[in-house]
């Protein structure tokens, strides 16, 4: 497939006002991920390119990896982005175009990356490698199977690692990482701590999320999805965990001591026959951006006028694979054939 040849919905007629005024690119390489880094968005592509989209400047393209960019994480300490690739390299890229190689694993892929205050981590095979920012040597943390996901808590005191059979939570204690295993049958991928650090959620190989309330390690089954949950984001004031994998964005409430236990999720952004493939939003704002299989992007509200969705982007040539939004309201949308939209939401 040569994505550069696909015109998508660029006929002008079926474009939304946002599409008409935004920057559109046909990069020809699948968009593999996007994260907000300050007021820029860092994005990864299937040809190894990392692009920074910025407010008042053209996008900056960096030839970072030889194969695909497999994963990205915002390194908020430095305003840069961490990336892993199928060329076995773990990189840190700055919005000025500088590349720092943090590690290289040869023919082994770097599957997951994560950053927390003062820490950086990546995984290759069964091992997670954790660096204190500024230190050259990494601590190697071993797991029973290939690592499916990595995530620090907000304070950088714990690192969660998803793998087959559960999630291992490593806690920084007396100058070493100490593991606690949370078991749940099945294969666990991406992991995330709730912003208050009270809950941990993993996306599973099955069409479900699994959660733990960490004060007593109580299990939370978050199932009922028609497809795998490939994208999630913490959004809103509760906050909510917005998730893909259904006909709508499914948003689990994490306010209160019980979190989502015994409560129904809020849904918004109804995609009709189309499954939601990517979600984004920001903490404190009760709205969700949801991308779908046909390339549509909707904006839905979590409260008040729930059910009224706004079409931000019409259907395109392929499914939405990544959405990111900056705190000051710039939106990035990327799809599976490399079409990109970058636009200010205001106005």
């Amino acid at each position: 497939m040569s994505g550069g040849l696909i015109a998508g919905a660029a006929d002008g007629v079926s474009e939304t006002p946002l599409e008409r005024r935004g920057l559109k690119l046909e990069t020809g390489a699948p968009v593999t991920g996007a994260v907000a880094v300050g007021d820029a968005v860092a994005t990864g592509f299937g040809d190894g390119t990392v692009r920074f989209f910025r407010r008042e400047a053209p996008p900056l393209a960096i030839a970072a990896h030889r194969g695909a960019v497999l994963c990205l994480a915002a390194d908020r300490d430095t305003g840069s982005v961490l990336t892993g690739g199928d060329d076995g390299r773990f990189l840190r890229l700055s919005p000025d175009g500088a590349i720092e190689e943090l590690a290289s694993f040869g023919t082994r892929w770097v599957d997951c990356v994560a950053a927390g205050p003062g820490w950086r981590a990546c995984s290759s095979g069964r091992n997670a490698h954790v660096w204190r920012v500024g230190a050259a040597a990494a601590t190697q943390l071993e797991h029973p199977s290939t690592v499916g996901g990595l995530g620090f808590d907000v304070k950088g005191r714990r690192l969660a690692v998803g793998h087959y059979g559960g999630v291992t939570v490593w806690k920084w204690h007396k100058r070493r990482w100490k593991p606690t295993r949370l078991n749940w049958k099945g294969s666990h991928g991406a992991v995330t701590f709730s912003p208050d650090g009270q809950f941990l959620v993993s996306s599973m190989q099955e069409n479900a999320l699994h959660g733990w309330r960490l004060r007593d390690n109580a299990d939370m089954r978050m199932s009922g999805y028609p497809a795998k949950v490939k994208s999630f984001a913490w959004i809103g004031s509760a906050p909510f965990l917005a998730t893909s994998g259904a006909e709508t964005a499914v948003c689990w409430p994490f306010d209160g001591r019980e979190g989502p236990m015994g409560r129904a999720p809020v849904t918004c952004g109804y995609g009709g026959q189309q499954l939601c493939t990517a979600v984004a939003g920001v903490i404190g704002v009760d709205g969700v951006f949801a991308g779908y299989q046909d390339g549509t992007v909707l904006a839905g509200m979590l409260i008040d006028d729930a059910g009224v969705d706004k079409v931000l982007k019409n259907a395109g040539a392929a499914e939405v694979t990544a959405i990111a939004v900056t705190r000051d309201g710039w939106l990035f949308v990327g799809d599976a054939v490399g079409a990109v939209l970058w636009v200010a939401l205001g106005g």
Partner: protein, 323 residues
Amino acid sequence: MTQTTQIPVTVLTGFLGSGKTTLLNRILSEHHGRRYAVIVNEFGEEGIDNDLIVDADEEVFEMNNGCICCTVRGDLIRILGGLMKRADKFDAIIVETTGLADPAPVAQTFFVDADVAERTRLDAIVTVADAVHLADQLGQHHEAEEQIAFADIVLLNKIDLVNPDALGGVEARIRRINPYAKIVPTEQCAVPLDTLLGLNAFSLERVLAVEPDFLTSDHDHEHDDDVTSLSFTSDVPLDLDRFQSWFGQLLQERGPDILRSKGILDFEGETERYVFQGVHMLMDGAPMGPWPDDARRVSRLVFIGRNLESMGLEEGFAGCRAA
């Protein structure tokens, strides 16, 4: 939306020393004008230009779906997902398994994982067998039997090292386990690659196209746990409800022993042939067009597995006939 093209995946099995590495080297080094990604497990050598070698650890995971024999290759789900993110595409993907691997989890991955099934398709299971040592290996390791049982192609290698009688014996042994496999005798794996790649062996069309090569005397196996095959036919139309009830229960209860199953079925009141194939408890089936005008409408059911005689298959199948 663009139609997603499914990239064919060939699974390469075979015991250590059978010649898998020789074959992989040929695939990687020959000037065939195609791009292959090769997922390897015990292959230490450096990659060759224009081809991609991915290191993998075979990770067999149970699915959390209540299906007791439903295991998948977790590493394969991850790697195939990663390969699909690449901008440069491959003509095909080849998955090498370790010598002692059971092919079932690899095959089941393509039935169970929606992302894998959407973007890739299982093309064929190719088993490289050593003509000198296969007989011993079959006696000693059940994995060797499974690799033959699951094969669409058995590449019978090193035939220059055995005499014609012994070769005939090995071929007969393979046939007893798997009458559906195509046996390709070779020295040094020297066969045209299109004998092995691009076969579409797991498509339902292929179930219609391949005639099993049953031996006349297939009840002389030595051990009760030997893998054998059985075939049943009926020229009386079948009752859909009865068949579903019997076959569903059979797979549920005896799925672990049934390695592969295939069928072309004539249901009463239906004009189209119903074709299915299965791996253990998982199956894939669909109506595949009307019966040819000149063909008798005969339902045929084939099983490859262990302890097949104890399953009451003949009676069960007979009980599915429409009254």
